[in-house]
């Protein structure tokens, strides 16, 4: 910068260093001002929220962690101390954790459902993470070998002792019902959606009737029919497995909902796509498989995942037919006299909520990831 010359104009050749933004716009104050205090209404709402947080969070944290009981073997641990109720009774959850996970599955056989769960999550990761190799083989393995292996491991036979489904429970039942429902309802929904748009009157009527009947009936009614009414119609002494009945009911019910979600996607595809497929000389199934469905399913990912999440939570309804899913086995234990204290019910319910939330939130995040990934090209 040593250009001192006489009576000439000064030309600046270098840019000025940019100034830091004023303190009120940068960093946290700036962020807060832009997002929380940008208008009078926002200021009021923000202050209100802040007040609610300050009001509730400390006592919640206190109840959940500070005053909570972490260890103990029976209700003595969680009894009120000096007349003051204790916080969350995590000792209760700890003592019952195996039961919340596997139900009454015999203790020496619990490695079987554990193994199934590990295999499932490994397989799921393999299929779901796009960068991994041989995903196509993974999908086939998960759809063919895995269910057979799961049935053998969970139920038994061929060298393994049989564990009746009435002993299954907890998270195991939640996962079995939800995953069977999810896996069975998607193809069923696709077929029904195509059937409802079919030009063949018989197929169309059958699909419409199926969808409307199953969609018009509450899931509780379906389960109740399966559990209470069906045995009355069957010849005496013939017993269907209760879990199997619930699985079939849930799969058909979700299938009907899925069909309507997918039909929405099919209707969003412009007519030109159908005509284009036809003009290429593709058969009906070819055009569906190669042109229409890939586009339609991509559009309705949010709807499909919505159905999955709602199904995952609806699994709790199997409680009314005497199967114990995660929530059912937790609630059932509220009546265990050796743990009966004021704090076990809220503790158990918060635990259930947390587990459900983790699963549903993961599904939701994965669907958003898939949407972004598949959203190549044309943005609508």
């Amino acid at each position: 910068m040593s250009r001192i010359e006489t009576d000439t104009v000064f030309v600046r050749r270098d840019f000025l260093e940019p100034e830091a933004p004023p303190p009120s716009l940068g960093g946290f104050p700036g962020w807060a001002r832009k997002n929380l205090f940008s208008s009078p209404l926002n200021i009021v709402i923000s202050l209100l929220m802040l007040f609610v947080l300050v009001w509730t969070l400390p006592s919640l944290i206190r109840w959940l962690f500070i005053d909570a009981v972490w260890t103990g073997t029976d209700r003595e641990a969680c009894l009120p101390k000096n007349g003051e109720p204790v916080g969350a009774c995590w000792a209760f959850v700890n003592a019952k954790l195996a039961q919340f996970t596997f139900g009454s599955y015999p203790a020496d056989q619990r490695w079987r459902p554990s193994l199934v769960m590990i295999l499932f999550f490994v397989g799921l990761a393999w299929v779901a993470i796009p960068k991994l190799p041989r995903r196509r083989e993974g999908v086939w393995l998960m759809l063919t070998a895995f269910p057979v292996l799961t049935f053998w491991l969970l139920y038994g036979g061929l060298g393994l002792p049989v564990v009746e489904t009435s002993n299954w429970g907890g998270l195991l039942v939640t996962l079995v019902v939800a995953i069977t429902g999810i896996v069975a309802s998607l193809p069923l929904g696709i077929l029904l959606a195509l059937g409802r748009r079919s030009k063949l009157p018989f197929i169309k009527i059958v699909s419409v009737v199926f969808i409307e009947v199953w969609r018009g009936v509450p899931l509780i009614t379906v389960l109740f029919m399966a559990s209470v009414m069906l045995p009355l119609f069957l010849p005496t002494g013939v017993n269907f497995d209760k879990l199997l009945r619930a699985l079939i009911g849930v799969a058909l019910f979700t299938g009907a909902y899925m069909a309507e979600t997918i039909r929405g996607g099919l209707q969003a595809i412009p007519k030109g796509q159908y005509e284009g497929a036809a003009s290429l000389g593709l058969s009906y199934w070819q055009s569906m498989r190669l042109i229409i469905l890939p586009q339609a399913l991509k559009i309705v990912i949010p709807g499909i995942v919505n159905s999955f999440i709602s199904l995952f939570k609806d699994t709790s309804l199997v409680m009314i037919i005497g199967l114990y899913d995660l929530l059912g086995s937790i609630q059932r234990n509220f009546s265990d006299a050796s743990w009966s204290t004021p704090s076990i019910a809220p503790t158990g319910l918060i635990f259930a909520a947390a587990v459900f939330w983790v699963f549903c939130f993961s599904m939701s995040r994965y669907s958003m990831y898939m949407e972004r990934k598949l959203n190549t090209g044309h943005k609508r």
Partner: protein, 343 residues
């Protein structure tokens, strides 16, 4: 009501063709063939009657009733499988043969006994509506509750019984009515009412959920009849007798001091009643005529103990519930539990 042909035509044939079961075989033969008793218990759990322990095994007074029957039939109390049932499906499950016996804190009433195709085999717990009060009130009888405020759940017969009881005793009260049991629990705990009323068995488990369980007291008066007992399908007298006499055997054992621990020594007892109970002696066999072994009652007591032991373990002093025997004491001790003699 339901004809077999109709059923089979409608659905049966469509679902399962081959596996027809011979309808003529008695319940006992079927149970012996399959190797276990299928017993319906409280699926939502009732403290002390049917609830899971830490390992997920069923425990309770009703559960013991099932295990005792399994012990009578097989000599092994573990040969029983449990079906958790809701209040709505319990009787259907019995009618449709999904279960062999029902032990799910069900009140024996005339309509249930006569109209549902089921038979109650006895009463393993005499329940009834009672009162719980704070000890600080200094009340020892429900008769002292004149002018008290009482927490009660709305829309149940409990509310009706409460009004009847106070009216017939010429007393006044303030009902503090709640929609849900949890609300009523919390209101009583926070001191909004002087007393709380519901079925006595429920009062004891509600008391455990209070901030200070020892500050409350369940009063001795019972103001309604709720005899809870096991039930079986109508029309199989042999099976009904087995379930009925299993309960009686447990009562007789308590009466004569036969316990799980001393049952083997008692086999040498000179008391003819005990000898007949345990099947000791020449020609003493009350089991075979009903399709069981000679040692059926010995097996019951060896397997689950006598009625008093089962009571204490599940709901009495040996449990957190600490329910007093009250009406459930033997008749010889002022209660209602009475068994006909074995002879």
């Amino acid at each position: 009501m339901r004809s077999n042909t109709f059923k089979i035509l409608l659905l049966g044939a469509a679902f399962v063709g081959a596996s027809a079961v011979t309808a003529s075989a008695g319940t006992l033969d079927e149970i012996k063939a399959k190797g276990f008793v299928q017993c319906g218990v409280n699926g939502t759990g009732l403290a002390g009657f049917g609830a899971p322990d830490d390992a997920g095994n069923w425990k309770g007074l009703d559960v013991d009733a099932c295990r005792a029957v399994a012990a009578a039939v097989f000599g092994d109390p573990s040969k029983v499988k449990f079906t958790g049932l809701s209040a709505k499906e319990r009787f259907t499950a019995l009618q449709s043969k999904e279960i062999d016996m029902l032990a799910r804190n069900s009140t024996n009433t005339m309509s249930r006994d006569t109209q549902l195709g089921i038979t109650f085999t006895g009463t393993n717990y005499y329940d009834g509506q009672g009162f719980m009060v704070k000890k600080s009130l200094g009340v020892s009888s429900a008769k002292d509750l004149n002018g008290a405020s009482v927490c009660v759940q709305s829309g149940t017969t409990t509310e009706l019984n409460l009004a009847d009881y106070f009216k017939s005793n010429g007393m006044t009260f303030n009902a503090v009515v709640f929609e849900k049991q949890e609300e009523a629990d919390a209101a009583y705990d926070s001191g909004r009412c002087d007393a709380y009323t519901t079925d006595a068995s429920g009062l004891y488990s509600i008391r455990l959920k209070m901030t200070n369980p020892d500050d409350s007291l369940v009063l001795p008066e019972i103001i309604s009849k709720e005899p809870l007992g096991p039930a079986v399908r109508q029309g199989d007298d042999q099976w009904e007798s087995i379930v009925r006499w299993t309960h009686y055997a447990m009562l007789i054992a308590e009466e004569f001091g036969v316990t799980q621990a001393n049952v083997d020594e008692m086999k040498t007892s000179e008391n003819p009643e005990v000898q007949r109970l345990l099947g000791v002696g020449e020609g003493v066999d009350f089991g075979t005529p009903v399709g069981l072994s000679k040692e059926w009652a010995y097996n019951v007591i060896k397997g689950v103990g006598n009625y008093g032991e089962s009571f204490e373990r599940n709901v009495g002093e040996g449990s957190p519930l600490k329910i007093a025997r009250g009406l459930n004491a033997l008749w010889s001790k002022g209660g209602l539990q009475y068994a006909p003699p074995i002879r």
